[in-house]
Amino acid sequence: MSENSGTNKFLRIFGIDNQGRKRRDPLNVWVPLISIGLALVVGMIVIAVSGRNPFRAYALLFGDSGLIPGGSAWPREFAELLIKSAMYIATGLAVALAFKGGLFNIGAEGQFWVGAIVATFFGYWSPVAGAFGTMATALGSMAWIAQLLHGAICIILGMFAGGAWAAFAGFLYVKRGVNIVIGTIMLNWIAWFLITNWLVTGPMTPPTQTFTSGTYYVADTAKLFRIMMPTRLNTSIILVLLAAYATWFLLYKTTIGYEIRAIGHTANIGMEAPKAQGINVNRRIVQMMFFSGCLAALGGCFFILGMQYQFPNTATMGYGWTGIGVALIGQSEPIGVVLAGLFIGALRTGATSMQVANIPKTFSNIIEGLAVGFIALQVAVRYYLVKYLQRRRAHADPPAEQEAAA
């Protein structure tokens, strides 16, 4: 097996680091790419069958996705792409981290909203907002320091709350044996209804407003910096890239990550090698869920502090669910999650434009769904890919007929 094959070169460009393996597995890159390719092809067929022109649809979808520079609308589209992607990457990282530890945190949705509501509260709550307002005035031209601090406090407390929300599911799992999928999904609905049916329409609504207006707006000092005027692009994309790096560092460079991955590799029933070597598996699981919840909540903070500036009455679920798809397409690797998040962000950004050609924007959801579906079929994709590669290798190198024992 030549070390300098095309796939390996390709991988080196991606710089994917699989600490656990000797040879980086090229399939980790190929499988998602092929799944996306298949999804686009099947998506075309679906559009064609519905009597529309798939090429025009894709031209609009990707032309306005923000991925391709050029045109007067591009800066705005690019900004929208990054703003959306930042949130998907955050929830994607949350799900991916839990996957690495062998758990399916389906509760990124709830953790996202818990982070959002807590960030909102500390964004407007007068003791905090007032203090930073005074500080900003006093600092004059240095007011950005107050904005930095207030934003940081909102994000840290929001993340902490989301982390605690997830850690509670982890606690129920290790202490009471509550299945993590059930635990997190139940907590999703508890969070969602507590927030939208009570907090947002009750205690957190300004008294002078009607119940349809959402919460108080956060103070200016709580808002994320905007970095590309006049678009609304803000620092969320930078923060989420830092979070992705931190997740990678946690997983592959720290003792906690070493233990989390060991637990993930042995998550099958009855496997207890880490425990037998003295690793405190239960504590690590709760910690891991905490970190996972923090990441999802970071997305919720972006939603409030970078886009809405209040918790709107019209918020709809979906950021956490999307994160599951992002983690799957990204193969649970932080770098993969970043790329997958950008892809989903692009689809969502371009989708609106398709409507111009009388193509419902739900077609981009179809493509997204298909991509996740093909990822879920990755055992099959891997199988045919391995077969194909074998045949090619046998062709190139006839005397040593080889096959990988699957």
């Binding site: 990550g257 991955r261 496997m271 207890e272 070597q277 003295g278 690793i279």
Partner: protein
């Protein structure tokens, strides 16, 4: 007539010639054994015969007809059947359901359970293998489950049966029963391929024996013309010291002791009852016993996995009450497990990452939160050389190593922990002769350096050869204490089975 002929079979894996020009033939009605160390190519060969792998070169003849076996279905069509080491049974199904699954009798579109039971009873009568067709499979002892597996294969019309390491999961008595079954099948004209690395068993049951080493046939011998020593020599290619040398060491202070220990198993049954013993530095205390007589629960309590219901344990004079596994390891306990896949190693982790698990929080392997993988790799490379772990690349996954090399890796890890008390629970289970010898040598070195060792084993020769004192466990009690020079395998065997034990003690 020849039931099966293999001509010049070779199988190439990337970088590894697993089977190298293998040829042999098996007569109809013969029990043909294939022995070899782990990694000698036995499993690959069986998988080729059974159609799971395609050979790189060579031909197979079944009943003197050239056969094209491309899948397990092809093999079944040719009346071959494989009894796997890990049973392919569904625990919640009844015996009858398990035997017919995949080829069920039907009434219209419905599954005809009554007929399934009847068919299974007829079959079991015909081949004289008794099973209760309506029992829930998961409740049956392992030996009986294996019988179900055999019946399943026979129902599909198997004439050639392949047994892949069938005794690995069996107790000695169950093994004897299996051999009775195999002889029965032989008398009914079936042909049997028996894969094993246990020479004693092969000498017991086989008519002819093929020895594999590094993918090649070293020789095919008649059972009556050979003996264990010769087979062992052929297997490992040199003279193996099956005799264990005596090592004298001065006995030191008590490292571990327990008093009136009682432990319950996961189902709440008390399986360790009033056990008291101690282990001193420089001695090996052997616990002999048939599997399932409380050894597992004893170990679980010792390593902090379960809490004893009563009694006390002390490690180096300190009470072990409510102490975690991590703390016990810090206080000097090392543990070699029999279950490498489940407890010993994280299989998808590399040799490097496995080599420090448990001490990965210590300098120089990590500082604060930061792992130092360079230092770990350096350490692992040293251990790979010292313990001769093959193939020797520290970035190979543990799962890709052979069983013997996995065990060497576990030994390397556990013996490099600072420790003075070692629990060795069936340390040679599933290992070939060479690796077994290596483990023995290491245990004796440990003893010589003054470590206290508790050896739990099902192999009497191992217990007798290594131990300074022997405790016999039966139904959760220690029913006898002796020394190797005062007892024999037979006497120990009887004690292990509870023969001559005062029933009042064990009730």
């Amino acid at each position: 007539m020849k039931a099966l002929e293999v001509h010049n079979i070779s199988k190439m894996f990337p970088g590894n010639l697993a089977n190298d020009n293998i040829s042999f033939s098996v007569e109809k009605g013969e029990i043909f054994a294939i022995v070899g160390e782990n990694g000698a190519g036995k499993s690959t060969l069986m998988n080729i015969i059974y159609g799971i792998y395609t050979p790189t070169a060579g031909e197979i003849y079944v009943n003197e007809q050239k056969a094209r076996i491309r899948s397990a279905e092809d093999a079944i069509q040719l009346h071959m059947g494989m009894v796997h080491q890990e049973f392919m049974l569904i625990p919640r199904f009844t015996v009858a359901q398990n035997i017919v699954v995949g080829d069920e009798p039907r009434k219209g579109i419905f599954f005809d359970y009554t007929r399934a039971v009847r068919e299974v009873k007829e079959l079991s009568d015909k081949v004289a293998l008794t099973v209760d067709a309506t029992a829930i499979t998961g409740d049956l002892p392992v030996g009986v489950q294996q019988r179900v597996e055999i019946l399943k294969v026979l129902r599909r019309g198997a004439e050639i049966l392949i047994f892949d390491e069938p005794t690995a999961v069996l107790t000695p008595e169950e093994t004897q029963e299996l051999f009775v079954t195999m002889r029965k099948l032989q008398s009914q004209g079936k042909t049997i391929l028996f894969i094993s690395h246990k020479l004693k068993e092969v000498m017991d049951i086989a008519d002819r024996i093929a020895v594999l080493r590094r993918g090649k046939v070293q020789g095919i011998v008649n059972k009556k013309d050979t003996n264990e020593e010769e087979l062992a020599r052929m297997m490992v290619g040199r003279n193996v010291v099956l005799e264990i040398p005596k090592v004298e060491a001065s006995v030191g202070p008590v490292a571990f002791s327990c008093h009136d220990l009682r432990v319950k198993n996961a189902r709440g049954m008390e399986t360790v009852r009033d056990i008291s013993f101690d282990v001193r530095g420089g001695e090996i205390v052997g616990i002999a016993g048939v599997q399932g007589n409380g050894q597992d629960e004893l170990v679980n309590a010792m390593i902090g996995f379960t809490r004893p219901t009563s009694g006390s344990m002390e490690l180096n004079g300190k009470s072990m009450r409510l102490v975690t596994t991590a703390e016990l390891r810090r206080q000097g306990m090392s543990y070699i497990t029999e279950d490498r896949a489940r407890r010993g190693l994280v299989m998808p982790y590399t040799v490097r990452d496995n080599s420090v698990m448990g001490q990965h929080l210590n300098a120089p392997f990590s500082r604060g939160l930061r792992m130092n993988y360079d230092k770990i790799a350096e350490f692992a490379e040293g251990k790979v050389r010292e313990y001769d772990i093959r193939p020797g690349d520290v970035l190979d996954t543990a799962g890709s190593l052979s069983g013997g090399n996995q065990q060497k890796l576990i030994l390397a890890r556990e013996l490099s922990l600072p420790h003075n008390f070692l629990i060795a629970s069936q340390p040679t289970r599933g290992l070939d002769v060479g690796a077994t010898e290596f483990v023995y040598r290491k245990l004796l070195e440990e003893k010589k350096s003054g470590k206290a060792i508790l050896l739990i084993s099902l192999e009497l020769s191992e217990i007798l050869g290594l131990s300074d004192r022997i405790l016999v466990m039966f139904e959760g009690h220690i029913v006898g204490e002796t020394t190797p020079d005062k007892t024999t395998e037979e006497a120990l065997g009887l004690l292990m089975l509870g023969v001559g034990v005062d029933r009042k003690v064990v009730s």
